[in-house]
C-alpha cells in the first residue's frame, strides 16, 4: 500500500516537473529563435512564454480529447455495448474510482489504452478487434489493467508526455518528410520562411534522440508491471490478463493504424511496427510481454 501511494505521488511530482521543463525549453527556444530571426531575444521569450502556457493549459484540460481524436477513437454509450459498459462500470466500482468515459477504435487488431488527467477526467479505449476476440475474463483483465493506470495517475504523466514531448517527434517526422519530399521546391523560393523551416527541422532532428530519452525517463516500464499487478488485484484473477496478453502476443497484430510515436506508449502493447535502428529502439516503452505473462502466472 505504501508503495502504491508513493507511486501516485511520484507520478504527480513528475507531471509538474514535466510541465516546468516544457515551459523552460519552449522559452529558451523562443529566445534563440527570436534573436535569430527578429533580432529580439525578449520578444521571442514573451511570445514563447504565452504560447507555452496556453499550450500547456490546452494539453492539461483537453489532452485526452486530443489523444482520442488523433487515435480515431469514438465515444460509446451504454446502449452501444451494454456488456463492455457494465464491465467498465463494475471494475471502476472495484477500484473505487469514478467511471471513465468509454471509447472504441474500429480496428481489427487487439489493443487498448487509457488516458486523462485524473480519475475524475479520464477515458478508457479498446479496439473493436479486442472487444470481439477476447472472452469475458480476458476483457476484464485488460480493462482492469487500464483502470489501474487511471487509479495510479499513470494516465496524467503519460498524457502530458504525449502532448508536451511526443508532439515534437510528430513535428520532427512531419518536417523531415516535407523537407525530404518537397526539399527542391522549398529551397527554390529562397525566402526567410524557407530558412526558418530548415533551421527548425535541424533543431528538431538534433532534439529527437534527447526527446526519446526524456520520454523513456518519464515512462518507466515499472509502470506496466504495477498496472498488471493492480489490475489482477481488481479482478482477483491474474490468469485473465495473462491469457489476454498471450492472445495478443500470438496474434502478432497489435498494430493500430492511427497510433504514432507520440501515442504508442499509451497502449497495452506496442501498436507500432517494430522498426530497427537506434532511435526506434529508444522508443521501446513496452516491457517484454513474456515476462509480464510469467509474473502474472506467479501471482
Amino acid at each position: 500500500m505504501v508503495d502504491f501511494y508513493q507511486h501516485i505521488t511520484a507520478n504527480k511530482v513528475k507531471s509538474y516537473v514535466l510541465l516546468v521543463l516544457f515551459l523552460f525549453v519552449v522559452i529558451l527556444l523562443g529566445g534563440v529563435l527570436g534573436e535569430a530571426f527578429w533580432g529580439s531575444f525578449e520578444f521571442g521569450i514573451i511570445f514563447a512564454f504565452i504560447f507555452g502556457v496556453v499550450y500547456s493549459l490546452v494539453g492539461w484540460f483537453s489532452g485526452q480529447s486530443m489523444i482520442a481524436s488523433v487515435s480515431k477513437a469514438k465515444r460509446i454509450e451504454k446502449k452501444d455495448d451494454p456488456y463492455l459498459w457494465n464491465t467498465v462500470e463494475g471494475l471502476s466500482i472495484a477500484a473505487g474510482i469514478p467511471m471513465p468515459k468509454v471509447y472504441m477504435i474500429e480496428e481489427e487488431s487487439m489493443n487498448a489504452f487509457a488516458t486523462g488527467r485524473d480519475p475524475g477526467h479520464s477515458l478508457v479505449c479498446v479496439t473493436s478487434g479486442l472487444r470481439k476476440r477476447m472472452n469475458r475474463q480476458e476483457l476484464e483483465g485488460v480493462l482492469a489493467h487500464e483502470l489501474a493506470h487511471i487509479k495510479n495517475y499513470d494516465i496524467r504523466i503519460m498524457m502530458l508526455t504525449t502532448v508536451l514531448i511526443g508532439v515534437v517527434t510528430l513535428l520532427s517526422d512531419f518536417m523531415l518528410r516535407s523537407f525530404l519530399w518537397g526539399g527542391g521546391r522549398r529551397r527554390s523560393d529562397s525566402g526567410n520562411a524557407g530558412a526558418i523551416l530548415v533551421v527548425v527541422a535541424l533543431v528538431l532532428a538534433i532534439l529527437a534522440p534527447i526527446i526519446a530519452q526524456l520520454m523513456r525517463l518519464a515512462i518507466s516500464r515499472k509502470r506496466e508491471y504495477l498496472a498488471d499487478a493492480n489490475g489482477a488485484l481488481l479482478t482477483r484473477y491474474p490468469p485473465g490478463l495473462a491469457n489476454a496478453l498471450r492472445k495478443i502476443r500470438d496474434d502478432h497484430d497489435t498494430l493500430v493504424d492511427s497510433a504514432n510515436k507520440a501515442t504508442a506508449h499509451l497502449y497495452i502493447e506496442n501498436p507500432m511496427r517494430k522498426a530497427k535502428g537506434a532511435v526506434n529502439h529508444l522508443f521501446s516503452t513496452h516491457p517484454d510481454i513474456d515476462d509480464r505473462i510469467k509474473r502474472l502466472e506467479a501471482m
Binding site: P82, Y83, N86, T87, E89, G90, L91, I93, A94, A95, G96, L234, R236
Partner: protein, 184 residues
C-alpha cells in the same frame, strides 16, 4: 520552573497534534468505508428494481417455474430498506443463486430465450451482479483497512477513546452461506 512548563506545553502540543492526525486518518477511511457501502446499496437497489420486470417477463413463458420466481420475489424485499447488513448479504446471495437457476432453466424455453426484453434483462442483471461482487470486494477491503488501522498499536489506544469502533464486513454468516439447492 519555566523549563518544566515549556516541556509540558511541548508534550501537550505534540500529543494533541498526534491525536488530530490519528482522528483525521480514521475519519478519512471511515468515510471511504461508508462511501463503499453506498456503492453496494446502489447496486442492490438496482437489482431490486429489475426483478419485477424479470418476473413478469418470465411468468408469461415459463409457468412451471413458479417456485423459483416466488423465491426471488420473497428475498427481493430484503435487498433495500432498513434490513441489517447481514440480512441484505444473505438476501443478495440467495437471489444470486435463484437467478442462476432461473437463467439455467430458461434454456428450456426457446421462446423466452429469444425474447428481446429477457435478453436485455439478463445482461442487465448479470452486469448488476458482478457490480455487486466488485462493490462488495471494495467495501470489504476498505473495512479491513479500517479495522486493521483501529487494531494496531498505538492507534488502538486512542481510536476507541475517540469513539471509533470496528466495521462489519458485507458477508453471509452461518446457514445462509450454504449452497443454494438447484433442482433439475
Amino acid at each position: 520552573m519555566v523549563d518544566a512548563t515549556i516541556i509540558i506545553i511541548v508534550v501537550a502540543v505534540v500529543v494533541a497534534l498526534y491525536l488530530i492526525l490519528v482522528y483525521n486518518g480514521l475519519i478519512r477511511i471511515k468515510n471511504r468505508v461508508e462511501n463503499a457501502w453506498a456503492q453496494i446499496d446502489v447496486q442492490l437497489r438496482r437489482r431490486y428494481d429489475l426483478i419485477p420486470n424479470l418476473v413478469s417477463t418470465v411468468k408469461g413463458y415459463a409457468k412451471h417455474e413458479k417456485e423459483l420466481l416466488t423465491q426471488v420475489t420473497r428475498e427481493r424485499s430484503n435487498l433495500v430498506g432498513g434490513a441489517s447488513m447481514a440480512k441484505k448479504a444473505a438476501a443478495s446471495d440467495a437471489i444470486t443463486g435463484a437467478l442462476k437457476s432461473l437463467f439455467a432453466v430458461a434454456e428450456n424455453y426457446p421462446d423466452l430465450k429469444a425474447n428481446q426484453n429477457f435478453m436485455q434483462l439478463q445482461e442487465e442483471l448479470s452486469g448488476t451482479e458482478s457490480k455487486i461482487a466488485y462493490a462488495r470486494q471494495f467495501y470489504n477491503d476498505q473495512v479491513m483497512l479500517f479495522n486493521t488501522k483501529l487494531q494496531v498499536f498505538p492507534t488502538n489506544v486512542f481510536g476507541r477513546m475517540l469513539g471509533f469502533s470496528d466495521k462489519e464486513m458485507f458477508e453471509t454468516k452461518g446457514a445462509a452461506r450454504e449452497n443454494v439447492k438447484v433442482e433439475f
